[in-house]
């Protein structure tokens, strides 16, 4: 090969890259995670300085307890968005499972059965939407937008708009309220889900195909993978994640409300996108999603502790989303140019 050829240059530059990357190479390759990590740290430092109570163990545990539903659903949403899809129905599924679990507990069903039934319901809703998306080729945005409307409607129809109480003596409420080894149970559940999601995303063939489908679905299909089932499966995951979020929420609040989780899907999508997962698919990171979700949670918590109007939360969150993605975009562009 000629020395002055473009491919020889390319080979040379890639061998330069190959020296087992300095932290700078790693930072540029993971620009999206680095930028959200910086944001997360900045937000935490700012709130630690302006409020005395932010950086205390009870408050931090409170944040992870309250953000457990967000973390769980955002982990599943990372899979969905990485395939190039979207699931707008998660807030409605959360509301439906929260109300239905309260209704079923009132009807006297044992709590383990209720949990299993709700997870199965979430999976079934996900499978139905996934069928229209993967096999009937209707855009995910449209299918889940319809789902958002219909499922919320069903929840309202069941309750007539009222919230349904859960008996506080039921073991069920422990799912949302109990502490184990000094940590809230919802936080432990979220941690377990995140570990499984991380391993599945990065270390299994399934995670590889999810990324591949987002990058070039036809290539994955030609490689002999059942891409339609894989696509359907990520909606089953997000349905089940939304159902577990509904269960945790109903258990923590001690009631099931059909109005729960209004706008929840947007918080979830914000957390995932903030973490650096591309809405066009093919690029996703679970670590970024965790940082994104925690940033969204910390902003909400910190503004309240700082006695600022809670209505500032959406304004600050929205601004940070735009700025973080903008920085990330510049970082990536810079990396590409210097190469």
């Amino acid at each position: 090969m000629n020395v002055t050829s473009p491919s020889a240059d390319m080979g040379a530059s890639s061998s330069r890259r190959a020296r087992k990357g300095s932290w700078k190479d790693v930072a540029i390759a993971n620009g999206s995670v680095v930028s959200i990590a910086l944001f997360f740290i900045v937000v935490c430092v700012v709130f630690s300085l302006i409020t005395g109570s932010f950086l205390t163990t009870p408050n931090l545990l409170n944040i992870v307890r309250q953000s457990a539903p967000l973390l769980i659903v955002a982990a599943a949403m990372t899979f969905v968005i990485t395939t190039g899809g979207i699931d707008l129905s998660v807030g409605s599924v959360l509301a439906l499972t929260a109300t239905l679990s309260a209704v079923l507990l009132q009807a006297g069903l044992p709590w383990p059965l209720v949990v299993i039934a709700m997870l199965a319901l979430g999976a079934a809703i996900g499978a139905l939407q996934g069928f229209f998306i993967a096999y009937e080729r209707i855009p995910a945005f449209i299918v889940t937008l319809a789902g958002l409307s219909v499922i919320r409607g069903v929840a309202l129809l069941i309750t007539g708009g009222y919230s349904i109480p859960v008996e506080p003596t039921s073991f069920f409420v422990n799912i949302g309220r109990a502490w184990f080894l000094g940590v809230p149970v919802p936080a432990l559940l979220a941690l377990a889900v995140l570990i499984v999601a991380y391993l599945a995303f990065n270390q299994t063939p399934f995670g590889r195909y999810v990324t591949g489908i987002g990058a070039n679905a036809e290539a994955v299909r030609r490689a002999g993978v059942d891409t339609r089932f894989m696509t359907l499966f990520v909606y089953i995951l997000s349905g089940m994640a939304a159902a577990s979020a509904g269960i945790i929420l109903a258990a923590r609040l001690g009631s099931g409300s059909s109005n729960a989780g209004q706008g929840f899907e947007l918080d979830v999508i914000a957390a995932v996108v903030l973490g650096g997962t591309s809405l066009f698919g093919g690029r996703g990171t679970i670590i970024g999603t965790v940082l994104g979700a925690l940033t969204v949670a910390v902003i909400g918590n910190g503004l309240i502790l700082a006695h600022m109007s809670p209505f500032l939360t959406p304004i600050v969150t929205g601004t940070i989303i735009l700025v973080a993605i903008w920085l990330n975009f510049r970082l990536f562009k810079g990396a590409a140019r210097s190469r």
């Binding site: 473009p6 390319m10 890639s14 299994t204 070039n216 290539a219 994955v220 030609r222 690029r283």
Partner: protein, 266 residues
Amino acid sequence: MMSDGETYRVRMTGISKRYGPIQTLDDVSLNLKPGEVLGLVGDNGAGKSTLSKVLSGAVIPDSGTIEIDGKAVSFSSPADARAARVEMVYQDLSLCDTVDVAGNLFLGREPRRHVLGVPFLDNKRMHDETRNMLDRLGIVIADTRLKVENLSGGQRQSIAIGRAASFDPSVLIMDEPTAALAVAEVEAVLELIRAVSARGVSVILITHRLQDLFLVCDRIQVMYEGRNVAERRIGDTSIEEVVNLIVGRKFNARSARASRDEGVQP
């Protein structure tokens, strides 16, 4: 043709395919020996892509027979063709840009290790085997963890070819592998084709770059409007003749004259 008594790797005889009013393939034959590189040329719509798709199982012909190593086969899907060790490198390469080099080479057949019955990727084995595979084919890529989007066009093409070659094919079909590549990259891809055929793989090369044919092919088959019009051993023909055969009449192509003057002999 058959009088020399050799067994052919591929014998396609009397292949016909009609799409509505258009007879895309009309009684076409194609023979290929082990380790031979055949250039398949013709104008757009001459039927070369359809013919290659018949052999790769993506198109089912209306009539005709296919024999591989003397055995009659009938392909109803690309999976059937792959089982008979016929591989095709598509023009769009079928690579996942955001997946690394090793991930693309092993897409759909990743080495796995089972932990508690759950399949995990065996990353170490995958990267080690990728390294071996690239070295064996002489493909220069420094790091198998690079994402494919960071590679040059020639390197991407090499990975697509390397992936097809790694299935241990007996027949490899390549559709326009050198289109849109820089000069040195074309050289690297042609070198790769020689390396693959030296290992006994029969190659069908579809290309519009006639100068490439003279660098790697043993034989050229020209198609015109769905029919075979000519077959030439590479030593017995010139780029000018091939151009005339492709366009189907005596055509004093300026490109052909220029190429001959510069000398295209291998």
